[in-house]
């Protein structure tokens, strides 16, 4: 082994390391960056991009009356299934309604359904999960079994089953999503509580004689907020996808109300699929973009709130 090399060949990393080392020696003991959470979130490029897209789509839907020159509901028999033009940016559908306007107004309902159901189910899940996780006992046992029952159904089957029983309406859909969605966040909140419960400060609070509700909601809940926020984001994305899927089947929001899924419903017709791409492609892309942005935000939140990950 006489011909062994004397120096290790440099790699791509070496340059990076050199820079770090030199910076460190040149600025010994400078102030550190503040705001760990915000800093981490902002330094995540994808999360930032996601947030910008999310904000743009939300704002455009919110200000739909200002941005759209046409009414999303009124048919126009003189402009049936027209391709995109200056007059109709995304073209018109088979009854001559302006698709751009429908996408904007549809966004209002779809985002309402997604975000609303996510927030409601989080509310229910957290209220039950935090309390029963901390207190335990029969309440916990019952809540756990009920959530197990809900979760042993494939979600979409349960949703469709409930649609069949309750009937189709916007409100029903939100109720159904909330009913089928609370279990996941409940379990997560409960699990967090179970682990926080063992920490010393909780023991201390208990010895001060604070009531269980106060300890659970006021002192322990804030420590579980990170994962809860991540969960809300991710379930928003999931609900928007589900609404789209259900409405595409014609079983979600009643067809008279424009939603992203309802617009896509037209593409069940092979002729529309083949000849009128503008009726379904832009709205499909919008859904995808929106859900993608929400997922990026959720990922960023996860990284920013997860203490176990560094760098």
């Amino acid at each position: 082994m006489v011909d062994a090399p004397i120096t290790r060949p440099r790699t791509r990393r070496d340059g990076q390391f050199d820079r770090l080392r030199d910076r460190e020696t040149s600025m010994q003991g400078k102030a550190k960056r503040g705001g760990r959470f915000l800093g981490k979130f902002l330094s995540n490029r994808l999360a930032l991009v996601g947030f910008v897209i999310f904000a743009i789509i939300c704002l455009m839907s919110l200000f739909a009356p200002l941005l759209a020159q046409h009414d999303p509901m009124s048919p126009n028999l003189r402009a049936i299934a027209q391709p995109p033009s200056v007059e109709h940016w995304f073209g018109t559908d088979k009854t001559g309604r302006d698709i751009f306007a429908r996408v904007l107004y549809g966004g209002r309902v779809s985002i309402l359904v997604g975000l609303g159901s996510a927030l409601l189910s989080a509310l229910i899940g957290v209220i039950i999960g935090v309390y029963s996780g901390y207190v335990g006992g029969w309440l916990d046992w019952i809540a756990m079994r009920v959530s197990e029952i809900f979760m042993s159904f494939p979600q979409i089957i349960l949703v469709l089953l409930l649609v069949a029983i309750l009937g189709q309406s916007l409100l029903n859909l939100i109720v159904i999503f909330t009913l089928t969605g609370w279990g996941g966040i409940y379990r997560m909140a409960r699990a967090r509580m179970l682990s926080i419960r063992e920490e010393e400060y909780v023991q201390a609070l208990r010895s001060f004689g604070l009531g269980p509700a106060r300890i659970a909601y006021k002192h322990m809940l804030p420590n579980a907020l990170g994962p809860i926020m991540v969960n809300i984001t991710l379930s928003t994305a999931a609900f928007i996808l589900q609404e789209a899927g259900l409405s595409f089947l014609g079983l979600g929001v009643p067809l008279s109300i424009p939603t992203w899924g309802n617009i896509l419903n037209a593409a069940q017709d092979l002729r529309v699929l083949e000849q009128n791409w503008w009726i379904w492609l832009p709205v499909g892309a919008t859904i995808s973009l929106f859900v993608l942005s929400v997922n990026f935000i959720g990922d960023g939140l996860r990284d920013a709130t997860d203490p176990s990950q560094q760098g």
Binding site: M1, R8, P9, F17, R21, R23, G29, G311
Partner: protein, 335 residues
Amino acid sequence: MEHDVALTVKGLKTYFYNNNRCNRAIDGVSFEIRQGKTLCIVGESGCGKSVTAASIMQLLPTLSRIEEGEITYHGPDGPVRIDALDRGGAQMRSIRGKEIAMIFQDPMTALNPVYSIGFQIKEMLMYHTGLGRRARHDKAIDLLASMGIPLPERRVNDYPHLYSGGMRQRAMIAIAMSCNPRILIADEPTTALDVTIQAQIFELMETLKRDNGTAIMLITHDMGVVAELADDVAVMYMGNIVEAGPVGTVMRNPVHPYTRALLDSIPVLGRGKDQEIKAIPGQTPDPYDRPKGCQFADRCMHRIDKCDEMPPETQVSDDHRVMCWRYQEFASNGR
């Protein structure tokens, strides 16, 4: 008495680059491991003992590198510069495990839970010996037997979770010793174990050293272990070896304030019940914000202005060296 040197480390610097910061975990460390002898590396946790071991084995994580220095393994085919080898290259791999083997601190996590102990021993034999399947199996049983594991024919097929902590560490040693390495690096092998089992493990290591002539680098934070087992000792503090020499010399005549503080912090047999045990005041500094000069200065009772400058390594005697500006005062002082 001349002994062959098994491994030389000279001016080793290993830095970590996690979180976009530079952590100078080891900042210029030199020592030798002599053939058939035990070198103890001792120091508080976080001082760089494990990183030293990982540097020798080239088992550093991705975001770290050896900056400078030489690690030379004096093998049967002449010296090899380990630091110059590719981390995952064939040459390094043929040294790792075969020539230099290592056992780790926590036997509970160091073994793979999904493979049997036998499999994990035979794996090593497969890569470094020409033994056939049958022979490997027999050898694994022999090894377990020589580590004092009862019913080795049966236990060889057991999974780690069926072994107790002490037995797992024996199995770990069996793996490490399976190819008769010239050097065994043991990183706090008993920290996670009971005191009684600790004694058994050390006895086993002593036997192996005696019978096979293996050089041992034993990492510990316990001065009592050093007194018991070491031939040579190197005291580490924040990435430097602050004092090193034969164990008798260093224990009898410690000249670095840190060594003296360490010795004061353990009970010594035979000094009676009313001996004074003093904890070292203060805490180790933030590795990202190290003092400029002597790393120990902030906690040192004998600090002077000069300590803001890094003291050089100075020979106290032929084989005893120290990094301290005022060592002469303590040397003459005696104990």
